[in-house]
Amino acid sequence: MPNKSINIQLRQETPIPLDLEFSCAPGEIVVVVGPSGSGKTTLLRSICGIHRPATGRISSNGTIWFDSKQRINLPVQQRRVGMVFQHYALFPHKTAIQNIIMAQGHLEKSQRLDKAHALLEQVHMHGLGDRYPHQLSGGQQQRIAVARALAREPDVLLLDEPFSAVDQQTRRKLVRELVQLRNRLDMPIIHVTHNLNEARRIADRICIIHRGKTLQIDTPQNIMTRPHNAEVAYQTGHSNIFSGTVSRHDAALGKTYIQWGVHEFECSHQPDFAPGTAVDWLIPAENLILHRRDRPSRGERENPVTGKISEMIPLGESTTVSVEFDDQQSMFMGVPTHVARRNGLETGATVTVSLLSEGIHLMTKAGTSSAKPS
């Protein structure tokens, strides 16, 4: 049984730095997330053979597509890839069905039309095959681009920001369709996007990249709650990220203690970090508890810290409160707007906040040797 996974290992300095290594199994969706210019598109172009990376190895379904050491570099046409381009890149002078048939060169002529119609049906475009791309909406064009990519019967499906050119409503619909479609496909799917929310909805694993380098590849849950370092945490939208030092462990109590300025916080046991290690740590906003003035709040004995409200931004039902501490570092939290009003929260008011110990996550500090991944 050949290994139907795709294995990718790429390294180059120019024109866009790349330092990536990951695999994707059949039926799995790996979503590569990174800001613009982080090398996402170059990664896809390297996989399909349009770009030749300086060094590395790409193998798919038991075939080596690229190996800089063995000087193997299969041309695009010999790599079985289905690629959905960012702006779809449909052939404008061909109808939808002709676009699909164009990618069926490997089939007998007699089979092409039937299979193309079956693909149209699969992407919910039945009856629209005779339309030209300019007669189709953005969402419909995207579906045809997916059908064309699948028409090649590829070993791997590559999607380059396929939802970036459609409105919010269409995007939700297309994401749902992609998830449904993927259940019927037995091939690795690599999807790149800068949109983390989109990634969380469709990914089996998310690969966070920055300047072409893999920062972390993990399940969406772990990426969101257990980022390996501050860079991943920033990219996943965390704002309460700080630096501290591990002070001690208490294995019996299952606790680790960290020092943050004058405060010592208790967190869940994270023994991979030796006492004295400088770490970055984060606390998701939902693990910050604002103490009520009139009566005790849940968990208020855990890691209490007092500061002043430096800013309040009401955003409809929720208000973002930023609390500044003596050392001028701030934590951000969301509070229901009515709660903020009832508690008389206002800029300059003194408040106490508790950091729930299980919510504090320690991360390797940038530039230091990494701790074992959890």
């Binding site: 053979g49 890839v81 690629m83 381009f85 890149a89 449909l90 404008p92 002078h93 164009m102 030209y132």
Partner: protein
Amino acid sequence: MDWQALNLSLTLGLWTAVLLIPAAILLARLLAWRLFPGRSLVQALLALPLLLPPTVLGFYLLTAFGNQSIVGKLYAALAGDTLVFSFHGILLASIIFNIPFAVQPIQRAFESVPVSVREAAWCSGLSNWQTFWRIELPLAWPGVLTALVLTFAHTLGEFGVVLMVGGNIPGATRTIAIAIYDRVQAFDNASASIMSAVLLAIAFLCISLIYFLNDRLARRHAQ
């Protein structure tokens, strides 16, 4: 009305277009998508006939095609005839003179084909040749059409270069434009005006054809 001259002009225009357009397609595609050292210089050289007075270009071509030149000697050895003052001579001059009219519209057309569309063709399994034939060329077709009609029409109206290289030999090098000049010199304004009107009509027809076909193509393949 000098029917022989009109016939010669139409033949010259047709052959110029037929011979020049395929070469122009390859050259234009190269200039549109490849960055190579000296690209600007090549483009400037190809555009030169647009700016040079036809007599200057004609003079240089006359010198280059002359019996003492390499081209002239080569032609004489192969065809047993002189290149200057022959139909082949004015055909070659006409091809050179029309290069910018053929290359530029096609180059613009290739430049307007998105790179991603070509890449999508490769990813769909189309070879480079299939991509050219089935994707690039159909998409650049309005430019090719423009080049074809422009080259043809422009050859019909050409005067200076043809006169310099070919002279005024009836049936061999006397084109309709030269015939008009010839008639005016002979105070035969009636013939000159008929032939001018014919040339005007052809030019107008050609330009209208370009606009009509391009509009139609644009409507069909609007992106």
